[in-house]
Symmetry: C2
Subunit: 155 residues, 2 copies
């Protein structure tokens, strides 16, 4: 059953798509994102590498997958925006009446609310499964999906 969290209302002109009752594939949460932001209203619009420290907690049995990551490396972090509704195809994100197709913006509201953020590793504690990183944009406790070393291997 697809979770359509977020009871928030629809804004002017927004278009809702019917979500299927069942999904097509299943995700595994491998840990969580720890940030200073307790609620959505506290989150910045976008993470900043020089922002407040955040960290990723990776659960067993995935911790050994952090092997090879070191401070200074750039990584993409994928996480699940679990508080976002998933059924809007046209959105009015700034309340001003400008409608945007969901795929032309980066709003967390999308059929698969997967966030992709680029950040720099500040430190690794392999035994504890902790990756210290730069500032991210999500609420504390957001489910973690993946970490990928960035293609641009320079710092």
């Amino acid at each position: 059953m697809i979770n359509t969290a977020d009871p928030s209302g629809i804004r002017d002109g927004e278009v809702v798509a019917p979500l299927p009752l069942r999904g097509d594939a299943e995700l595994v949460f491998i840990g969580r994102v720890r940030t200073p932001f307790e609620q959505r209203e506290d989150c910045p619009r976008q993470g900043r590498d020089d922002g407040q420290s955040c960290w990723l907690e990776v659960d067993e049995p995935w911790r050994v997958g952090l092997t090879g990551l070191e401070a200074g490396m750039r990584v993409q972090v994928l996480y699940w925006m679990h508080l976002a509704r998933r059924d809007l195809v046209l959105q009015n994100p700034d309340f001003r009446g400008d409608l945007h197709g969901t795929f032309s913006i980066r709003s967390p509201v999308r059929p698969n609310p997967i966030a992709v953020s680029l950040t720099t590793v500040r430190g690794v504690d392999l035994a504890a499964g902790i990756l210290h990183v730069g500032g991210l944009d999500c609420v504390d406790g957001t489910p973690l999906l993946d970490i990928k070393r960035d293609r641009c291997f320079g710092t």
Copy 2:
């Protein structure tokens, strides 16, 4: 039930993690990626913006979500690497014995096999739900998860 596709064998030194029997969240496939590559062996290691033409087919009811995308814009494309096994935490991708933590590389083999590729829009057919893009790296028919306009809004 988590699909552990790919019956391929384990290479020297690789470490397998037990996957949970049930996932934590469900994905919706919004369409598919069309490429010239019929099998995994045909795929390049990485997409190239000047590579062979690929396109994204977006199904109803998500097509209107393409509104606002235009040729020349940079987008991130997220797709589900459905042929990849999901349970390796240490990998030996080049068969030479160097073991890499899954999160320190970009192999499709990962607990959540979500690929993130950056490409340039070459054309849009909104009514047909088609987005023409640069070269991608996956097999024809790979399930499409998301399209996000890239943060760097310059071409």
